[in-house]
Amino acid sequence: MSQLAGDSTVVKADTVLRINNLHTYFYTDIGVSKALNGVSLDIPAGKVMGIVGESGCGKSVTALSCLRLLPKSARILKGDITLFRRTEKGFDPITLTDLHPMSVEMRKIRGEELAMIFQEPMTSLNPSYTVGDQISEAIILHQNVGKDEAKNRTIKILDQVGMANAEGIFARYPHELSGGMRQRAMIAMGLSCNPAVLFADEPTTALDVTTEAQILDLMRDLQAQLGMTIVFITHNLGVVAQMCDNVAVMYLGRIVEQAGIDSIFYKPQHPYTKALLNSIPHAGSRTRARLQPIRGVVPDPYSSIKGCAFHPRCNSFMAGKCDQAVPALTHVEEGHTVRCFLYSDKVEEE
């Protein structure tokens, strides 16, 4: 990796999680699906990092790789993930990719350091146990407290995520709660052990718009209150604009552009980011203007595309260049990188 996240010796003071050149492949009956093809990302502490992209671009796989919760068919081939744990003395880096997914250390990190909220609130809570049981389970596990204390803390967190009558909710089963309430419960579970990084994988996609707005407000408030680090995975640029401080745009297992929220929306560089932005309606834009969909579809992950993965759909395609090699990440300005031959001829070494 080049100048940016590259030098693993140089760690920016506020990085809490570093993903470096991550390759995650799925081995299935049909073939090998290269879900991640060298993802590098520094996640700054206390900020909200958005990961955006179409379905199947590897957003969720990135999160699952960090938590080491990939299915058995998946393997991390190359690259590493480092967690910089907060201690009194400063950083205590630990390489997650060196741990066995089922090891004691990894399990201790899961829930305590890294937590995750999933997309489907309807199915992400166990129907057989009460909401309270499921949240306090994590507290008992990680915080070394008894059942009663765990219950107190759980009720406090339920209250914190805006559940009226938190005590009543504690004893409820998931099927008795609405989708929004369940997602609040999931957020409560994620927050229960005060993790260093909270991955939120499309947490509002399955909710209706009003509930979505409430949940986003809640997350934003909690983030500000607790100074939490959130990795927010979504395909919805509107949500990104509302939630995130930094954005990484992914396409087919690679990050193609990364920048602060303003740069992404006002100075997008990569053709894919531009296309994404053109495909959503803007308030105040000319009423007669048509939305521009992105040509084609995301290619089948089992196929391998030579050169830049986006070139078959790209409006700025340069024959003999884009279809020959993968462009390297280029620094276009402070905190803004892009992977495109329009800005640099540098080639990514395989």
């Binding site: 938590l67 919760l69 089922m102 399990r107 201790k108 990190i109 899961r110 829930g111 305590e112 937590a115 995750m116 999933f118 997309q119 489907e120 199915t123 992400s124 809570l125 166990n126 129907p127 057989s128 146990y129 499921q134 389970e137 994590a138 596990l141 990680h142 089963y173 099927h175 008795e176 999931m186 579970m189």
Partner: protein
């Protein structure tokens, strides 16, 4: 919960009445009553029966009355515990059946416990070790278990035990303990005679149930909440046994009631082969001899046992599954 049980009991009462009617229909169904069989037998012996003698026999067994009257006589006797006469034994049906029904239930419950313990263990193992060699071996065994008729399995195990282990199989006791007073050795001998029938009766149910368990658990392991549990940092064993297992077991309890008829069926036929003094041999012999009161009573009691089993299974399901409990 209480209302639920009450409602179920109401349904059961209705079903019971129809079961009784159908049971009696079966008693009446065979052409040629026991009396005709008996008359034929006496004639064959050389006796020449007069018409009055024949009428007297019909009258003695109440066969000269119309069907519906006989049904009411029979059913009113039934509820008082008078099930009619076992012609071939010249005994009251009631005196014959209780001990045998009790043993049938004992073997059925034993087989049920065996089935569940083995099927759940095997099912969980093969679901968590999918596509490994032990899983393939278990799959083959399951297919064979489903394909071998239980009476054949009983025969094979009998030959095997007798030929290879020089064990005496069949019956409840070895010959030396048959008439002996109760003692520790006799209890041991009894237990020694129980395991083969229980394995044989439970074999196909175990094969089937472990497939169901495997499929259920695989389904549940794909659920998001299992991932949630892992994301909490729980140990994989806790994830499987606390979070996945609890949900995978629901469909199993749902089919619990449905698996009982197979077990009772299996018990009756296996008992015949293994010469166990349970309901099975008596029942089938009664059918062949057209001793219909005996057969009908057995059949109705087996049905009642099943209905109670179903009720218990439903209550159990309501108890484990919060979603049903609050309906």
């Amino acid at each position: 919960m209480f209302n639920y049980i009450l409602r179920r009991l109401g349904y059961m009462a209705v079903t019971l009445i129809i079961v009784a009617i159908l049971g009696y229909a079966i008693i009446e169904l065979p052409p040629g009553s026991y009396v005709e069989v008996e008359i034929q037998r006496l004639r064959n012996l050389g006796g020449n029966l007069s018409q009055t003698e024949i009428d007297a026999m019909y009258h003695r067994y109440g066969l000269d009355k119309p069907v519906y009257e006989r049904f009411f006589i029979w059913i009113s006797g039934f509820v008082r515990g008078d099930f009619g006469e076992a012609f071939a034994y010249n005994m009251d049906v009631g005196d014959l059946i209780w001990g045998r029904l009790g043993l049938t239930l004992m073997f059925t419950v034993g087989a049920l416990i065996f089935t569940w313990v083995v099927a759940i263990t095997v099912g969980v193992y093969s679901a968590t070790h999918r596509y490994t060699i032990p899983d393939y071996i278990l799959t083959v065994l399951q297919f064979i278990g489903l394909s071998v008729p239980n009476f054949l399995l009983a025969l094979l195990l009998m030959v095997f035990a007798q030929d290879v282990f020089k064990m005496q199989v069949g019956g409840l006791f070895s010959s030396e303990f048959e008439k002996a007073p109760w003692s520790f050795a006799r209890v041991l001998d009894l237990l020694n005679h129980l395991w083969i029938p229980i394995i044989v009766i439970g074999a196909s149910g175990t094969a089937w149930l472990s497939r169901v368990m495997r499929a259920n658990l695989l389904d549940v392991l794909n659920m998001q909440y299992v991932q949630t549990a892992r994301a909490k940092g729980l140990h994989e064993n806790t994830v499987i046994w606390k979070h996945a297992f609890r949900n995978a077991i629901h469909p199993l309890i749902m089919v619990l009631g449905g698996s009982l008829p197979g077990l009772i069926s299996g018990e009756t036929i296996v008992a015949l082969v293994l010469n166990l003094p349970t309901a099975g041999p008596l029942y089938f012999n009664a059918l062949i001899a057209k001793d219909m009161y005996l057969a009908g009573t057995f059949l109705i009691f087996l049905a009642i046992a099943l209905l109670i089993g179903n009720l218990l299974a439903d209550i159990l399901l309501a108890w484990v599954d919060p979603r049903i409990r609050y309906e």
